[in-house]
Amino acid sequence: MATLETCPAEAEVSQGYASDLMSDVLARAPRGSLLATIQTHMNVVAVAAHARLAGIIFTGNRRPDADVVARAAQEGIALYCTAADTFEVAGRLYALGLRGKSS
């Protein structure tokens, strides 16, 4: 998994969330969690900042534009991208000990 030119997540992360609908992320993503999504629009960073997420993993080989990366650096949100799809990423993070809101 590649880290984009932002900053690595500093705080320890214990929760994850996966969704492509930012209205859903706003309503349900746990504070301080890592978000896995295929949505690369600028608003994902704005939503992540508002929901106080630690970082965003862009899955399925999708890369955000440079202005999205710059905004995330400003907001202190770590960005990652990977060729693995969202299901695969969620499984790997779960195996590493991250949990969803419901468990």
């Binding site: 492509d20 209205s23 949505q39 629009h41 608003n43 994902v44 939503v47």
Partner: protein, 247 residues
């Protein structure tokens, strides 16, 4: 100046989810019965039935505005309203270049995409998979519409699917919509309409009809000199005392 009533988001059977009863003649007849002065035909990623509805509209004295409902890469619906059929068709061509072709399984799942003559007889089928998302981003779709002289409208802004709100959580500050569209009364979650009103974009109301009985259930009332696209566009922009509102 006069006051006109318009329903600026109506599908025909060219949209796979549109009902078979959405023929050009029937749409025009129902719009007239609802007391509408103007309608816009906005099929998903397509413009192939606009000319037939416009023809039926001319015979009945109803203004028919050329439109399209684009599905962007983010799965957001954006309505484009154009000065003429040519603009809508050019935009449809660009959108369809990024869509796969239909096959039997697609048609079974999503429905048929029927091109009709003004009376409603089938004259062909659209072969691009209109129900799917195009490759254009939200920003690209809005620019494409505006490059063709059109008004770019954020469709059914408060709906829980395929809206700017559902997909992106909020209106992006760098996308300059000409207007935002609200849905019929029963489909409006409380508070969201008010939230979006604060951005200061002109707000219009449209039915997003897929069935005849839905036509006119949400409307745009515009104050202008005539019921034409040019006067509607001037009303959206608030030129010389013209105005738009939704009911």
């Amino acid at each position: 100046m006069n006051t006109f009533q318009a329903d600026l988001h109506i599908h025909t059977k060219l949209s796979p989810c549109g009902a078979w009863e959405m023929t050009p003649a029937a749409i025009v007849e129902h719009a007239r019965r609802q007391g509408l002065n103007a309608i816009a035909i906005c099929d998903h990623n397509a413009a192939g039935n606009i000319a037939a509805v416009a023809c039926a509209g001319r015979a009945a004295g109803l203004t028919v505005i050329a439109g399209i409902e684009i599905t962007t890469a983010e799965e957001i619906h954006v309505v484009g309203l154009f000065p003429g059929t040519a603009g809508a068709e050019a935009v449809a061509g660009r959108i369809q270049a990024s869509l796969p072709r239909v096959d039997e399984a697609y048609t079974k799942l999503f429905g048929e995409q029927v091109l009709m003559d003004p009376a409603g007889a089938a004259v062909g089928c659209e072969t691009s998979a209109l129900a799917l998302a195009s490759a254009l981003t939200l920003g690209q779709a809005v620019s494409l519409i505006q490059e063709h002289g059109g008004l770019a409208v954020a469709a059914h802004i408060e709906r829980p699917s395929y809206s700017v709100y559902s997909q992106l959580g909020d209106l992006p500050l760098d996308v300059l919509f000409d207007a935002i569209e609200v849905s019929p009364v029963g489909n409006r979650p409380i508070g969201l309409r008010e939230k979006f009103a604060r951005y200061g974009f002109p707000m219009i109301g449209s039915s997003d009809s897929h069935y005849l009985h839905e036509i006119g259930r949400a409307r745009t009332v515009f104050h202008a000199q005539s019921a034409t696209f040019e006067e509607l566009a001037a009303a959206v922009r608030g030129i010389d005392g013209r105005s738009v509102a939704y009911v």
